[in-house]
Symmetry: C2
Subunit: 437 residues, 2 copies
């Protein structure tokens, strides 16, 4: 492979790449807007040229539609390649924007290759998982060799992974601040836990921090977008926005700056579990400390007491985070905190996270976001059910619910002939001329 | 029945009633706090002494836990008393705080009596529904007699209804402002639509506005809490926060003041469909214009494109509204905009709305709200699944999801032996001393 020039290096030189053009078309913005955003670090296009099946470059960041990621992948307890490919199919059908393969069970290489091959969208991974799993089988996580970590990163890059979570901010300093603070749920990030175990067992600094240059070299070679992971993200409301978490963010801000100076695209991962009133502050902090790097959040879950409904706790927090400026929402499914998600969980997770993202996009006035809401409202006014269904975020479910009611009229069983819209129809012939949003 | 003295009149005289005491106990506040809130109008206790099965007086308003209401009731298309009683049972089991019977089909009197008899929580109704349905069957909605409306209100009060939605703010003035503005979905409130039809057909003012004194007299007699309805609430994002809607709020503010001066408790109903960024302003406007009257919101739904998931669109908006000060959330179910809810929809609607209410309560630091989140987080740390389940908002669903994964270890199938919590356990022996929330 000849050395490629990253999107960021191109953007900085004023070059608009084919990927920038395609992403701009998709967003309805100018290619120059995308180029400028990439150049200043507020937009990324995770696109590894080795990912041959990636047909639609995706731009993530400032001023663009909020994107959604679906996590799939095996675990030691449950590993079935066919099931993972079915999850991928369902996630694509439900219109996720990106997919992460988080496999830690079965033949990890084979599963990843299959997912990448079958995924026309950006694929992300967390290489430390595979490194830890491979080491764990031989010598335990503490026995993991530093070179192994980088070998796995390069192996995954070579397969075509477009973005990688790397928990570079879990350092001796941030762990020590975390310990000094005290937490209920110390570390809930798997990657963060693996690295912490390695570091504290060996009394050595995090290799992803210590040898960050080596990481950047690989990332630059394949134009991997680094997703600087939040290994110290809070795992419950009571741990949110503590000194350990913010210390990690500060370090990630420094590392983001360095990545950019080397021409490597970077996004920042965020919490986690967080009371609703802390979300705005967290988004502002990330955007300031990390100089506008796109913010990729997991949730945040606004309560801890909703196992079975954590996708909803996360949709509440995600909508709010995205409204305040988060750019990329990682889905949660009804299985969060309970089990590996099933195929139907994946579908549910993607759609509900899309609802949160869309609600935020309407509120932050992303170009065209409200158009579909206006169209479905007009279809409601006309009691045009076919059109309502075609505009619904999940036509299949909407149709099923209506059909089960065995309605035969053009109303619905909620009101029947007392349908408010129909009752007053004759009295409102005026046309709405302006939109209030 | 001897003339009773309303909670508001008692409060104003400095008297702490039995209901205030019980409600205070339930909230963990002093009886004096409740009394003062009722006296100044920021708290209500919907409690009609005729509702003999009402065992637990419910206080709604400022500084208290956010409450949840479940709408049940028949329609002309679907009317089955047994099914409605089953919905009631399920709503109670899912721990709703109040129930509204919105029946418009079948034997409305019989259904209401049965629901009231079987409901130990406050029951609300929308009397104009029954008045319009009864008139509609004889002479059409436009042929409804003014006396019939008040007769139905008194009939329902006599049965023990605790709070009533009355769309008194749908006036010639507010309708005219609505028309001048223009909307996509003119009126989506059934009560609003019935009254508008009657008013515009007969060219007469809304009887509930014109004869508001007559309404107050009945409300005072039974201590019915008036829920001043938002007949002009927006039915889609594009119609939100328009001049018609705000004009109605202004009128409701005047009517709230008048109700209080007569010793009648009052709450205000709010939208509806609304972009996320307008929610805060709407709560502030209601609280200011209506002088701190408790705010009862339906949603707000933060997108129009989610039929089948409208309970989630509403949970996002509801959590935010409650955080900003809304006091009472009316649930939505997965059936909203599609059909009359089923029994399982009712369960889902209550639980999801409780999640939104709880998330808001944690964020606005309602006394004790976060305690359960802290406890479940501790149970997670200890991998104590029984305790996690017992603290979950819906233990039944959480258990079912975990059980389906056929896990046999004390971990879950998401991570198995790579459980982050377990991996780092030995490195974190510190105790968290303070809570960050």
């Amino acid at each position: 492979m000849t050395q490629i020039k990253t999107q960021l290096l191109n953007a900085r030189e004023g070059i608009i790449t084919e990927q920038m053009k395609l992403a701009a078309l998709e967003e309805g913005v100018s290619p120059e807007y995308i180029r400028e955003g990439i150049a200043n670090g507020s937009i990324v296009i995770p696109y590894n040229p080795k990912h041959l099946s990636l047909k639609k470059p995706l731009a993530i960041g400032k001023g663009l539609r909020t994107k959604v990621n679906a996590n799939i992948g095996t675990s030691p307890e449950h590993a079935d390649l066919d099931e993972e490919l079915e999850k991928l199919r369902v996630a694509l059908e439900a219109r996720t924007d990106a997919v992460m393969d988080l496999s830690t069970g079965g033949d990890i290489d084979r599963i990843r290759k299959a997912i990448i091959e079958n995924c026309p969208l950006p694929v992300g991974t967390v290489p430390i998982y595979q490194a830890a799993v491979e080491a764990s089988e031989k010598r335990g996580i503490a026995g993991m060799d530093e070179d192994e970590i980088f070998e796995v990163i390069e192996r995954q890059a070579e397969d075509g992974v477009d973005f990688m979570t790397v928990h570079c901010g879990v350092t001796m300093e941030s762990i020590s601040r975390l310990k000094a603070q005290g937490r209920i749920l110390d570390i809930v990030s798997r990657g963060g836990a693996f690295l912490t175990t390695w570091m504290l067992s060996n009394n050595k600094e995090n290799p992803l921090y210590e040898h960050y240059d080596r990481l950047l070299k690989i990332a630059k070679k394949y134009d991997i977008t680094l997703s600087l992971g939040d290994g110290l993200r809070p795992g419950c409301l009571a741990d949110a926005t503590d000194r350990g978490q913010i210390q990690e963010t500060i370090i990630l801000g420094e590392l983001a700056k360095k990545a950019r100076s080397e021409g490597v695209q970077v996004i920042i991962e965020g919490p986690g579990h967080m009371p609703l009133d802390q979300i705005k502050a967290n988004v502002i902090i990330e955007k300031k400390i990390c100089e506008d790097a796109p913010f990729y959040v997991l949730g945040p879950l606004v309560t801890d007491i909703a196992p079975g409904y954590d996708h909803i706790a996360a949709a509440i927090g995600g909508a709010l985070a995205a409204y305040y400026g988060a750019d990329f929402l990682c889905y949660l499914t009804p299985s969060e905190h309970l089990r590996l998600p099933t195929v139907s969980d994946v579908r549910e997770g993607v759609i509900i996270t899309r609802i949160a993202a869309h609600a935020a996009d309407v509120a932050k006035k992303v170009r065209g976001a409200i158009d579909r809401d206006i169209e479905i409202a007009k279809a409601r006014k006309n009691l045009d059910w076919d059109r309502q269904m075609s505009l619904a975020i999940d036509p299949e479910r909407a149709k099923k619910i209506r059909k089960e009611s065995k309605i035969t009229s053009n109303k619905c069983t909620m009101c029947g002939k007392y349908c408010a819209i129909d009752v007053v129809r004759d009295y409102f012939k005026t046309e709405k001329l302006t939109c209030n949003v």
